[in-house]
């Protein structure tokens, strides 16, 4: 059993409420930080912990905090990113639904460290009922002097507000989120300036993911150094993984980042194996935008080493043979799934969610969807596969925000690893409407080059 820092108490009865959360040791970290530490000392602990942003990019949280500009007389803001819209990802929801006070406590501590007196939680519009849960938790925290004016008699004031979006994946991108929070369309801003200098209403702003901010609580409780001892290398602490697809036990799991992908998929403690006795074909381990891998490259790296559930190991081999940790949205596909069709639904998703500001993304996502549709429905040509490759390459790196890359990568990886399945669709326009390509050779052991 791995160590649990976030979800250990998530299923204690009544933990949604202040009294139970407090009885179970909650708000001790807030007390410690606000009454015994200076704001910069809190940031220092977060730095020492090695905590990396859990929203997808994995940027070190402490470093981000230390970049925050602090000009005299200008307010600073902390914004919590609860937009959670990357397909495969549903971990923040779990945390907010079951143990909302952990997030609120994390926000109080982080707001104190950053000097934010108005802190916003931007939550995706569809999570409407979670808004009620969070607002209730905030009111309970206020009644107990952990939110509001003069918190714990320290003179520190902090209001926490929940802002509900209205349906737009792009608002998870931090500058689009800020635009949306200001009451505008969610069009990402050109960077620089970065939010740390010019963010919400042009004030210095830190945007962090829900899980990142919740992790600040155990960091303060056990100390940054202790936290950094969990995990390996630059993958410190614990990570929430939301697992879905063709597995026996879909759900949200907290792992320390030392277990292997194989164990994660097959052990009863986690996914419990592939559903219905089927075999594993492929997996998208970090949310829909990270590269899909066939079973053989997923379980072992190209060097033949077991792949581990952490930032370094998942990306081992680069995009040629590796993938990414991303948001921790772990999507498992069994032998009956069609890679072309799965890629098509993702391409449609990105076309739908493109904000339309940059032509490579606006036009390219539409073209990719159309071509994939043709291939999937037996109307594709061999040259379409090369055309797809060409389009995704022209999007990548040529747009204002990373949604362009996020749309390009799944298509690129699908062609890179499953080209034969695309070709089969083209060569068998009738058969491909009646059956799927199947497992083919995707689970067969790869020849490992020995030095």
């Amino acid at each position: 059993m791995g160590r649990k820092l976030l979800l250990e108490k998530a299923h204690v009865e009544g933990i949604r409420h202040f009294d139970v959360y407090r009885r179970e040791g909650g708000y001790k970290a807030a007390e410690k930080a606000l009454t015994t530490m200076a704001p910069d000392a809190v940031t220092e602990e977060v730095k020492k912990s090695g905590l990396r942003g859990r929203g997808g990019a994995g940027f070190p949280a402490g470093m981000k905090w230390s970049f925050l500009a602090k000009p005299e007389g200008i307010p600073r803001y902390l914004v919590c990113n609860a937009d959670e819209s990357e397909p495969g990802t549903f971990k923040d929801r779990y945390l907010m639904e079951f143990i909302p006070h952990l997030l609120i406590e994390g926000l109080v501590i982080s707001s104190f460290a950053l000097g934010s007196n108005r802190t916003y939680i931007y939550i995706r519009g569809e999570y409407a009922w979670i808004v009620d849960i969070l607002e209730e938790a905030i009111e309970e925290a206020r009644a107990n002097n952990f939110v509001g004016n003069n918190i714990l008699g320290t003179g520190f004031n902090c209001e926490i507000y929940v802002q509900r979006g209205a349906g737009a994946y792009i608002c998870g991108e931090e500058t689009a989120l800020l635009e949306s929070l200001e009451g505008k369309r969610g069009n990402p801003r050109i960077k620089p300036p970065f939010p740390a200098v010019k963010g919400l209403w042009d004030s210095p702003t830190v945007v962090n993911n829900v899980e990142t901010l919740a992790a600040v609580v155990p960091i303060i409780n056990i100390g940054g150094e202790e936290y950094a001892k969990i995990g390996v290398g630059k993958s410190t602490g614990t990570k929430l993984i939301s697992a879905c697809g063709n597995i026996n036990k879909p759900g949200v799991y907290e792992i320390d980042m030392t277990i292997s992908v194989e164990e994660f998929i097959y052990s009863d403690e986690y996914c419990g194996g592939i559903a219905n006795g089927k075999r594993l074909k492929a997996c998208i381990p970090g949310g829909s935008s990270v590269p899909i891998l066939p079973a053989n490259l997923l379980l072992k790296t190209a060097k033949g080493e077991p792949r581990i559930m952490n930032y370094e190991s998942l990306s081992d081999g680069g995009f040629a043979t590796g993938t990414m940790m991303g948001s921790g949205g772990f999507i498992v596909l069994d032998e009956d799934q069609c890679i072309v069709k799965n890629t098509l639904t993702l391409a449609r998703f990105y076309r739908h969610e493109s904000c339309g500001q940059c032509s490579p993304c606006r036009e390219g996502t539409g073209w990719m969807e159309k071509i994939l549709k043709n291939i999937e429905y037996g109307k594709g040509k061999k040259s379409d596969i090369d055309l797809l490759w060409d389009i995704q390459r022209k999007i990548e790196g040529n747009t204002i925000c990373p949604l362009g890359d996020a749309a390009a990568w799944p298509v690129a990886a699908a062609i890179r690893h499953f080209r034969d399945e695309f070709e089969w669709h083209v060569d068998h326009p009738v058969e491909c409407l009646q059956r799927n390509y199947g497992l083919a050779g995707y689970a067969e052991p790869l020849a490992v080059a020995t030095a």
Binding site: G125, E159, K184, G186, S242, S288
Partner: protein, 167 residues
């Protein structure tokens, strides 16, 4: 202009506007449109949007710009119950297409249509953050997860009964 807010809701409106610093009340736009839509039968008419513009002292065009950007705002009337079935990868591989098919057959409507009695609208949407509980749909404020055709039938019956009681 049409005020969609009751007196009680106006208090909530004031509370929302107070969340932002002086002069930044435009930030209340999306929350107010969410509220206005809930209070106006699930969609936003032009007069409703104009009223919200007036409340926030911004131009109507600033409201239209936003209302057309976000997928949760309906700019046309919708049924009393809107079934929003997720169709993205993780839901697709767990059978969301069968759910859509079943709803179409059962209600005799296509995606994007509203049943003749005005009770049901069927929409397909992209990932709602419930991929582990697929297939699923949003119905009003809540998610309905682990859907099967039988479960969908029950939900439809439930809605029909509720609507009958309210009439």
């Amino acid at each position: 202009m049409m005020n969609p807010f009751s007196e009680a809701k106006m208090k909530q409106v004031d509370k929302i506007i107070a969340r932002y610093p002086e002069g930044k009340q435009k930030a209340a736009l999306i929350p107010l449109l969410n509220l206005a839509q809930e209070e106006s039968g699930g969609w936003l008419s032009e007069p409703t949007m104009d009223y919200v513009a007036g409340l926030l002292k911004i131009e109507p065009i600033e409201v239209y710009e936003v209302a057309t950007f976000y997928s949760m705002f309906n700019l046309q009337p919708v049924g009393k119950y809107v079934f929003e079935v997720c169709q993205t990868g993780p839901c697709m591989i767990r059978g969301s297409e069968d759910i859509v098919k079943h709803i179409k057959k059962r209600l005799g409507i296509d995606v994007g249509e509203t049943s003749a009695d005005g009770l049901f609208t069927l929409k397909v949407v992209e990932c709602l953050g419930a991929c582990g509980y697929a297939p699923m749909m949003q119905l009003g404020k809540y998610f309905r997860e682990h859907l099967t055709p039988e479960k969908v039938d029950k939900i439809i019956d439930e809605c029909t009964q509720k609507a009958a009681q309210q009439n």
